[in-house]
Amino acid sequence: MGPVFDMESALATARSSVANKLSPLSNDDADLVATGALDSMAWVDVLVGIESATGIHDLGNPWPENRPKSIRVLAEMIHEAQNLPAGEEVRADGRLQTRADGRISIAGWAYSLGSRIMSAEQIERDLGLPLHKIRDGAGIHSVCLTVETEDELALAQRASEIALEMADVSIENIDLLVATSTTFLAYPSFAASLHSRLLLPETSGALDVGGACAGLIYSLSVAKSLLSMSSQAVALVVASEVHSRRLNAPDVPGEFRGLFGDGACALVLTKGGDAERNGKLSLREFVSGCSGTFASSLGVKVTANGSLGVEFKGEQLAHAALTQMDRIIGTLETLSSKPRNEVDYFALHQPNPRVVEILAERAKISLDRVPVISRTSGNLGSVTCGVSLCQALTSLRANGVQSQTSLIFMAAVAPGLIWGGTYWN
């Protein structure tokens, strides 16, 4: 919700919204519809205008019986909606509920992968790679690739709508969209395009976050910060990558291109004091940084002639990623005051399954606590740790594990070497 309105400012807001439709303005007590001053279409636009100006959802919807459609009643309704007793607020359905505390929790999650599944053998054949390079060398059995009708927006829309359904959150109640995509290289940006595609309210924000493979963790950090510092209550966090089109260039090495798949994930964050009671996991502290020493291990840039240039030092990158991921897990142990053997799941970025196996061995974590999505879908960039998180959350829910005792660590690294981590419990 927006700023608190006293009756005078509520009256001013009501008058201003009516003035957009009616000139000269009628008196404050006249029933604007019954007198014919406004038709029903104009009346609805007045309500929409006030909602937009005040952040109140569903003002006067349904309109109460026996109250005239006047400027004064509009002002009273603005005033009532914005000045509820301490500890209460209006839900989207118009009923009162206890006002939320500052905890940010996850209410819905989903992912969507490219519909075309390509086996490791086919990738090796198509890209002219040595036999078993992808299956045995990287540990990837198949990758999920988009079909012609799928792109970053289509995958993100599919994931978002499933996540919102799970969260039982209406599109109209989303305050903020935070989105990340490395492969979407257009303006309007990915967040703006997805905002339109989903038909989010015009008064909900749309923000793009970078960070490549760490982009989802950075997006969660941004979303949590924005929700915490404002009166906004619901954020949709989305990552979507379609590598198969972006990396489909002659200068991109096959052993790099063959590792990647296409997908999207969506997470619905809500600010609410009932999280613990409802068994929702809350988003906790973040850790992040950038280690320039390893900046040259992976570089992707558009060259002067418009082609894609990739600098890929596989072994150096794997070594740097392993070291940094292990460090992030160590830092999360300190922040959460929980040792890694008490963590239920690790939602990790996965350059490939082989790297995950080595990390599990080195970091002394059980591989069955890492949902290894990259084995069947390939490296999904920023989406990887999101899909891993979705699988972890679904598993916890299926097993009836209570949020009070659940713990999930998230960690990711990206070119730069950017790194980030967080945990949920």
């Binding site: 919204s17 957009n20 439709k21 009616l22 000139s23 029903s40 279409m41 609805v44 636009d45 309500l47 929409v48 205008g49 909602e51 937009s52 100006a53 569903d58 006067g60 919807n61 349904p62 309109w63 109460p64 019986e65 459609k69 359905d93 118009g94 829309q157 359904e165 209406s170 599109i171 109209e172 309007p188 395009s193 339109s196 595609r197 989903l198 038909l199 309210p201 015009e202 008064t203």
Partner: protein
């Protein structure tokens, strides 16, 4: 006598507004808005349906832009032709269509409020009806004790959005009346929103003939012509009521 295939039947005040299509040139069609002898609106008892063929004799017409499709008539007579919904949409896709907002009426759109309906300046628009494909759609419901107002939000293939379009499509209005009769009064607003956006919406988005016709209201205050959702395809199906 000219013949039209009725493409849009919309509620306008206490009457109906009707638009039909006729062959223009080569493989294309154009919209014609037959106007009755008196006023702009036809009686609610109009016996014709979308897709029906009608014949009419033209009367001299003084056209007032952007409603260039207006054509005075002596009345409409059934011609006996009848197109199904898919055939009708197929023809509408060869009439006035646009992929983006500016192409709808040949001018820029304006909005007075964030999330509110859009309007065009009557002196700048060069037509008052146009079709478009949509990528996504959501319904908005506004209720008061006496009536329900249905609005639509659309994303065009260009990625541009249209907010809070009043749904004036007669069939959708009738369908809403049926829906309202079947919903329990308690929490009707929530149930209606769920029904429209979680049950009906996916059916529309899965259809291959997703298509909308956007019309302009007659110029009002400050020469503003507000946009309206004249026709929404697929049209509502009575079987969708069975879940209620």
């Amino acid at each position: 006598m000219r013949e039209l295939i009725l493409s849009d039947i919309t509620e306008m005040g206490s009457g109906l507004c009707v638009i039909g299509i006729e062959p223009a040139c080569e493989d294309l069609f154009r919209s014609i808005r037959p106007i009755p002898s008196r006023g702009f609106a036809w009686e609610r008892s109009l016996p014709h349906q979308r897709g029906n063929g009608v014949r009419f004799a033209s009367r001299p017409t003084s056209v007032s832009p952007p409603h260039i499709e207006d054509q005075n008539t002596f009345g409409l007579q059934a011609s006996g032709r009848c197109l199904n919904e898919l055939e009708l949409v197929g023809i509408l896709q060869r009439a006035e269509v646009s992929e983006d907002l500016e192409g709808l009426f040949g001018c820029g759109l304006h909005a007075d409020t964030n999330g509110g309906n859009a309007w065009v300046d009557a002196s700048q628009a060069d037509r008052s009806i146009c079709g478009c494909l949509y990528r996504n759609l959501r319904f908005l419901v506004f209720m008061d004790p006496s009536r329900i107002t249905l609005r639509g939000r659309l994303v065009l293939t260009s990625g541009e959005t249209l907010n809070s379009l009043p749904v004036v499509d007669r069939e959708w209005r009738r369908f809403m009346d049926e829906v309202m009769q079947r919903l329990a009064k308690a929490e009707r607003h929530i149930d209606l929103d769920r029904y429209l956006n979680r049950f009906i919406r996916p059916k529309l988005l899965q259809a291959l003939h997703r298509f909308a016709r956007i019309g302009l209201a007659r110029p009002g205050n400050a020469h503003k012509c507000w946009l309206m959702l004249d026709s929404l395809f697929p049209q509502p199906d009575a079987s969708w009521l069975d879940v209620l």
